[in-house]
Chain length 148, copies 3
């Protein structure tokens, strides 16, 4: 019989390029769902954040920050940041975050994990991260567990 | 009880690096399916296109085009475009599109969205885009809604 | 009625930047499952590998290797490779693989494919690849077929 279980994880980020390891929280949500076989989809609800699976080694996280800022540097010029010409989606607290959107372009809004025999099919070094690409704020991650 | 609902969206693209916002069409397909809890997978059927979730702000789309062409420039040399040596997967209308395949490498063929309480769990600024990375042509996007 | 079918594919890779085409094996697993409508999630269990959908044209694979090594070159300096200062997740056989993790950052750990009318909804040129970003070793890919 099909079961679904949906949860939201609320996060308060502390700054740009913060990596938050969600693995234990996702595993708890899966365990509490009682679902033992199916799919687990981890999805961010924001456009300047990402869901990434990689190793949790602090120096590696520093390397990945360097890579992201090399690919879409905050120092590049982005038309999205040009408030002299931009007219769309402007909000009072708007700050230039074109680099964060462009970093997100090359990352993922969702990763789908397999759940089999009651266990998330993550390998030894795989951890599920939420990445804040913009400044500190409240964020929400949506988790759907679906299966039997 | 499990329900599935599959739809194809046919698109006629008009040129390279066109971003097509599929969000409203995906939401309609979900609504028509009658499924209120589950997963929605948006998948392209092509290798020189991508499915991306980001903000729909016209200047930002221009920034993303610049980023894609900086990462895998049409001006780079690609062996895939060297018809003097290439022998595999050649079709009569073949044009050099190595850059489009390499841009697709860093993007996604699918994004999976959570559906809970009858609503796609998209955040305020999240829009689902199909990106044409190659020249104008007919394209198909496959949408699967699965749940209850 | 909901059915799930989970399989692991064991791979012995032969070296860095090897592309292994999993498409036929995935299609067999789907066929054997008896499931005709639903989702198929292909997920790697490693942090220096990726699941990518693109065209299987040998020269293009060479282009993609060049792109990956340009983006996160093995010749860059990675703190993850600095065993003078690193203290976390060290194993006896540790070699410097910061570039492989950083390449994986811009690729995907999973791709989700739609299954409709008994057929994977892959387009004409779409093939599912596992990419080895690190040195030769044993790897596992997890495949979940879920539907009816």
């Amino acid at each position: 019989m099909l079961k679904t279980s949906h949860h939201s994880i609320l996060l308060q980020t502390v700054g740009c390029l913060q990596f938050i390891d969600l693995t234990d929280r996702v595993a708890e949500i899966v365990e509490e769902s009682g679902i033992r076989q199916g799919l687990v989809n981890v999805q961010t609800r924001h456009t300047t954040t990402a869901i990434v699976i990689n190793e949790h080694e602090p120096l590696l996280l520093e390397d990945m920050k360097v890579m992201l800022n090399r690919l879409a540097s905050p120092a590049f010029e982005y038309q999205h940041n040009n408030f002299a010409i931009r007219t769309v989606n402007l909000v009072p607290e708007e700050v230039g975050n074109g680099h964060a959107h462009c970093q997100a372009l090359f990352l993922r809004a969702s990763e789908t994990l397999n759940l089999a025999h009651g266990r998330l099919q993550l390998g030894r070094w795989q951890r599920v991260f939420f990445i804040e690409l913009d400044h500190a704020r409240e964020r929400t991650v949506s988790i759907m567990v679906m299966g039997q």
